[in-house]
Symmetry: C2
Subunit: 516 residues, 2 copies
């Protein structure tokens, strides 16, 4: 049968053809990946040939996002309904009952640059800018992100490309302006457990009259990040405006940087790098420097811990990284100085927010019980900042720093900063704790940092601020049978039990002793 | 408070510590990626610090799979409940109410090889074997798969590595043995729409007494695959045993290869390559040759269509690919011959299963209306197979092939094969069709294959067998105003409407004419 007449009524079918579907919330958290859920019975999936993982543009009222499709059935969704993962629903700002539109995604132009990079080509500024814009616009699926990370891994980027990537990252995020000539900052590459130098360095530098608006991160996989530890003492959830007020009053702050969106593409890339456990020196340099420039910093001291289990394994790698950091920093207009430090063991005693905050206060209050390694690291970094900013000789800078620490000015400054951020609170102690004692006499020959961190997490850190591990001994220390090695702290008997059970199952590897 | 006594009761907590959770089916299809769903309130997530995308081992009764975590809330799942994506639930063989165990995944050793490859190292046989075993064991997340594809993309693999990868793929899948000296096969790289030569080549070759057990694929994104088109005429869902019986009786078969698991790792890798749109010559060679060897083939003709919009863009690339295919085939013990063919336009008239099956039958029945391009391609491939297997000169082989086609033996053989596979059915025609006529006089200067394929899919192909496009003209052909250009065929007015609406919106690009 051949229809001679027009085979359809145009107006009637228009809505149908544009694929309007009703939003129903299923509240599925897929982390950052944007997922759209549609039922197998959906007429749009059928007619368009959408399959699971097809890349789709979902739009409502002029806003749109790019998603990957997962297909549901059996009652979760009916034909005519559609759902989004939590991150996608939030980004698109949709509510139950909204009418969403779904279309096939055109191929992403910037992926042609990623493919070119995979095939061994060198990319220019425009290519990196397009890639980073699409990543920060959340247009890349995890598969795309992974291929970009892979393309840039190892030594695959030349210095020009690292600069282009850094610049692209700065240009796509928010940027802070402080209206002052000198803005100091510090950074530590591949943080060590317990290494809370920022909370000592910032008050010293601020007390010296130098502006240091520090943003820090929360723990992702560790028992505490600097933002978690600072949160024991005060509020860290500052808006940019609140941060500005604190810094105007006190010269410094320690705020959570997560909400600032200084380099949104980098935040996305880092999660995939972590999942792949792939290092890219180029991406690391771009990541560090772009965030510093976006935060408005002009002078930055970068601490590079070097050690077999640290991010940077040996001095050769540290020197090479440091030269490249310096070259890119010069190009982008940031003054930097690098410090190489010992990356072989945790810093201080406490592992977990409140225990680490206690160590920080002990150092600032010059208590005899304060951990000397944490103090020495903080003094060294603060001295380097003073040298860099004021162009002073080493001893002069060191003396100024020591003075602010010794006479209690730095301590008072931390308290003032806390007051300005919302009020100072003393760290509390956990409700339950259990001390592990040495079963023999001996000398401590190795400590498994990862397993110690695991115990701290099982005990409840960082969500439970007081939870964690108080590590009472050090490498090469002589211990006697019955001597306390470390204390597990927790606010619930159940979590204390999890942590202790894990210790029991792994105690051979956690702490090794040589017998005398 | 320091507890001196043991702070927990061991036996009571053991079940809790091993994380037993009750399976509840949510029926979410995530394609091949294995996803586990746990609620935000889950005590196991909290205590272990699991976050969305954490890699977890889920096990039941000694079976286990590796999954990525998505977190749900608000009623989909309660604390104590757990769900899996459809593919994961199927693989783990779980039922509603089963008790599942969840633990953190140890890092995958084979990913260290992928990282080494990304850093520019060359991998050995053992490394490729470990990677391919883990991929076929479905231990790789999409992020991991993407990094492996990226690491091997472009020209990154040397010939040794391509051989190692091919061998690893053969060794990890099922393998067919036919107990005969010569098993013929054919393959086409980057299929063209309508190019159903297999359905003509197989009966010719089988009629000549050469064994040719052909496995074919279904459409993934196209309007029809060879398995879909063969399914118009007969059953293609054969088990290995059924396939063996058909081949013993008729010398040949055309079965769906999807269920055979000849190279399971390759099936997984190809989906990610498609999503990335990344070509890796090494992976393509390994993919093609491993499946042929696993299928028990000894002699294989490979058709390489060359054209600007084909997979292989120009003759230089075709020659280079062909030399590498030959070298690896020699190493792995497979005799191959390559053909270069025109890859610039669709083959035959019909696009869609039944329309293509009609073209195939027209060729085999020597109808004057049969598409000559399809016939010529099939004859050329069949002749090459005869030359390769029997070591005949070109004309001798060609004459034998033409004879079987001309005298109707090949047609009878196809009918016999269909009968052996479950019975022959004639192709049917669609209920509705609409013919697009030329709006002017002119010469056809370009055809957009992708958009034509899109119209065929919107009309219902391949699920609706009779749906599709019957393309009535060719490049460089002179047409007059009112002359039929192509017919859209569909079994429902709604789908015909979708297809026509799409045509209307895109007609400028679909077919271009130069005016006289």
């Amino acid at each position: 049968m051949q229809l001679q007449a027009h085979p359809y009524k145009k107006e009637n079918h228009c809505d149908h053809y544009t694929h309007e579907l009703i939003f129903k919330n299923l509240y599925i958290d897929t982390n950052q990946e944007l997922i759209v859920y549609m039922p197998a019975s959906c007429h749009v999936c059928k007619s368009e040939g959408f399959q699971a993982l097809t890349r789709l543009v979902v739009s409502v009222n002029g806003r749109s996002i790019i998603t990957s499709l997962n297909i549901t059935d059996d009652g979760l969704l009916q034909d005519g309904e559609i759902s989004l993962s939590k991150s996608a629903a939030k980004k698109l700002e949709v509510n139950e009952g909204d009418k969403l539109n779904v279309t096939h995604m055109d191929s992403l132009h910037s992926m042609s640059h990623v493919r070119a990079k995979l095939y061994g080509n060198t990319l220019d500024q425009q290519a990196y800018t397009e890639i980073i814009q699409d990543i920060s616009g959340e247009k890349y699926s995890n598969i795309y992100l992974s291929s970009f990370v892979a393309a840039c891994s190892g030594d695959n980027m030349n210095m020009d490309e690292i600069y282009f990537l850094t610049k692209a990252m700065v240009d796509t995020g928010n940027r802070m302006y402080w209206g002052k000539g000198v803005i100091a900052d510090k950074h530590c590459i591949g943080g060590l457990p317990g290494n809370r130098t920022s909370m000592i360095v910032v008050p010293i530098i601020a007390a010296l009259g130098i502006t240091i608006p520090k943003t820090s991160s929360r723990a992702i996989t560790s028992p505490a990040g600097t933002a978690d530890t600072m949160e024991v003492l005060t509020n860290v959830n500052l808006t940019m405006e609140e941060m500005r007020k604190v810094v105007e009053k006190e010269n410094g702050c320690i705020a959570w940087g997560g909400a600032m969106k200084l380099s949104p593409a980098d935040d996305i890339i880092i999660k995939v790098e972590k999942a792949l456990d792939v290092d890219s020196e180029g991406q690391m340099i771009a990541s560090i420097l772009s965030k510093k420039v976006a935060a408005g910093s002009t002078h930055c001291v970068i601490d590079i811990p070097v050690g077999a289990t640290a991010k940077v394994r040996n001095m050769d790698a540290a020197v090479s990284l440091s030269l490249r950091l310096k070259e890119i920093a010069d190009l982008i207009g940031l003054k930097v100085e690098m410090i190489f430090s010992d990356g072989n063991q945790p810093v201080g005693y406490g592992i977990g927010p409140s225990l680490e905050a206690r160590d920080v206060l002990d150092v600032l209050q010059n208590k005899p019980s304060a951990p000397t390694d944490l103090k020495e690291r903080a003094v060294r970094i603060a001295s380097e900042i003073v040298q860099l900013v004021w162009n002073l000789p080493r001893e002069g800078a060191h003396d100024l720093v020591i003075e602010k620490l010794k006479n209690g000015t730095a301590y008072k400054k931390l308290i003032s900063i806390c007051e300005a951020q919302g009020g100072f609170k003393e760290p509390q102690t956990a409700k339950y704790n259990f001390t592990i004692e040495s079963e023999t006499n001996g000398i401590i020959t190795s400590v498994d940092n990862r397993k110690i961190a695991r115990i701290a997490k099982l005990s409840g850190a960082p969500d439970s601020q007081e939870a964690g591990v108080d590590f009472l001994v050090q490498l090469k220390q002589k211990v006697e049978k019955g001597q306390p090695l470390f204390t597990i702290c927790s606010n619930s008997p159940g979590e204390l039990n999890y942590a202790f059970e894990y210790y029991k199952q792994n105690k051979q590897q956690i702490l090794k002793l040589s017998y005398e």
